[in-house]
Subunit: 376 residues, 2 copies
Amino acid sequence: MGRNAGKSQGMVESKTKKTKQGVQPATDAAAPLTWTLKRKPTINDVARLAEVSKKTVSRVINQSPFVKDDTREKIDAIIRQIGYAPDPQARGLASQRSFLLGLVYDNPNAQYIVNIQNGVLEASRKAGYELVVHPCDRSNPRFAADVKRFVERQKLDGVVLLPPVSENNALAETLAEAGCRVVRIVAAPLDQPANTVVYHDWKAAGEVADHLVDLGHRAIGFITGPSFYRSAHERARGFIDRLAAHGITLPPERVVEGAYTFESGDAAAETLLGRPDRPTAIFASNDEMAAGVYKAAYRRGLVIPRDLTVIGFDDSALASRMCPTLSTVRSPIRDMGRMAAEKLIARIAAGDAAPIGASEVVPHLLVRESSAAPAT
Amino acid sequence: MGRNAGKSQGMVESKTKKTKQGVQPATDAAAPLTWTLKRKPTINDVARLAEVSKKTVSRVINQSPFVKDDTREKIDAIIRQIGYAPDPQARGLASQRSFLLGLVYDNPNAQYIVNIQNGVLEASRKAGYELVVHPCDRSNPRFAADVKRFVERQKLDGVVLLPPVSENNALAETLAEAGCRVVRIVAAPLDQPANTVVYHDWKAAGEVADHLVDLGHRAIGFITGPSFYRSAHERARGFIDRLAAHGITLPPERVVEGAYTFESGDAAAETLLGRPDRPTAIFASNDEMAAGVYKAAYRRGLVIPRDLTVIGFDDSALASRMCPTLSTVRSPIRDMGRMAAEKLIARIAAGDAAPIGASEVVPHLLVRESSAAPAT
DNA sequence: TTGAAAGCGCTAACAA
DNA sequence: TTGTTAGCGCTTTCAA
């Protein structure tokens, strides 16, 4: 100890202390009724005008219960009168937080990002948080360190992780260890319920299977997502299991792996439709790929849905704009963003005390024009 | 003065000073070679290890030229060694900044937002800024005050405004008065070049006119954007002027105002195609509406492009995924975001000193499958 | 070229 | 229930 002790103190009485105040009332006695300074009011101004200590004002700001009602009202009135707003930087510096939430993603789907983002914003706004967006690149070996650095430097109060980066357990742990609350949006439960918003794509994929079978399709093609996406697994599992329940097994040549891109959907459909007995229906694991199927069908002169039923997944903007409109699965994406942010905020507010139930989302099938019974 | 003077000083020597340090080397003398503390290193740690004052470290961090090279290298080495990173909150509190950029928008087009956002992120990352996104709602009467409050509270170093809210001069002025640098992305010059990235949609719309005329179209339908969008005006001006240059005047019944939405495009096309002598080509002021035109044509059994040529604007994801693919105008949206952020950062760095040239963007026409000569 | 000391605006620990 | 005091980690005069 004592390395610093006393070295920064001295006979300061004699020095002129430069305070930051601008114009002052002629006497210190009277509190001005209106705020006439250009300078933005600080907690000190509020304290002086209310004739209480900074700390009491601080208590009011932070909703401490240990303030007499009169005192609180008086302070609130002055705060409103002079338009005081606490400085988040100062607040954060003193309390080791930031009043900032983060959104970390590496998903290329713009519509998805914006929808989630809007949901997160809806909740965070309400609670007085601002949102810092932070795309990342899993292919970069330093990406986890980068994200950690971002979170630490900004002292983020919490972070929402989107798939597929949300599926990276190592990252989630790293961030949690760094003292940042994390909520992950994921396709399958892989963490405590308080830390995840889970969407059960497999159930919806099962609905797709039911739908196709109900229509009478037996020759069914399936384009999966890339194997490193959890959602791709879940969608495949739900679809295949449910088909099996109907006594249908997809032969390997009817299943093609796509990359969740338009081009890959086109190519996969080309493969499926190029075989001697082409399927009468194709389920593409997302809308982008389903659009690719449309293209392949268009090129071959096949008419949807007369010659081919096509089902997508995501209900992206595309789905309702295609001609014919695309049957697809809708997830309440924006709601998922909102739920994730709400979880985060609840945990921040409760100091992680209050247990927070699971947030589960079950998407559902929207039948549109691209569905029809197979030609007989 | 003296309101505060002396009241917070005293005989501090005798008090135990509670410093935040964790484990310390046994003696103050030797600087440890590696950083063994759990606590994140601060500027004080760097100063102590480098045996210089805080201020000198600060100078190094802030790239001050007034540091001897040896000193700088020594400090840099230690910074790297212990993995020190300055705390933006503390830095900001002391210097009245935040190292944060803002993105303010009220545009509903997700793809557009994300593209711009990515461009802004590309530039701001590089310069060590993080990005706070802030959608707003012009229909709310308090929206300008809200945005101002946001900018002031967060002490944003700069803000990028997207259209259409970027067209609001009052907002831009309010923010500038609040001391925040603003760069606007706009469809027509309405500010100093340093403050805007201008995209010349009218030129590209002219290209569309040339293209249609070259193909031989004379009966041309035009769906404009909503009149309160600057871009809608510019696109209309460019298109109509250029048609006029070819000696073509659009009769009023061939011009319908849309709302930049899919549905409005559908409805407008319905109107245009429902008239006795329907146009052989339709230029929709954005891709969303062009998709609506596809739908109306599909419903009426018209084949694009055989019966109808359709041109869009924006080169959204939709355009290349439609069947047939849509001829449209591509703006380098992401680049515009990057340019805007670069301007902001340059102005911040230069203290607004260095004049920054105009950033002008000229989009261009992409001819795809939806273009053809009119049937004869 | 460097350093000492005083804040930035707020919260925290402790005391009253 | 309220106030006092010492920081949070950095930059900024001003002086050396």
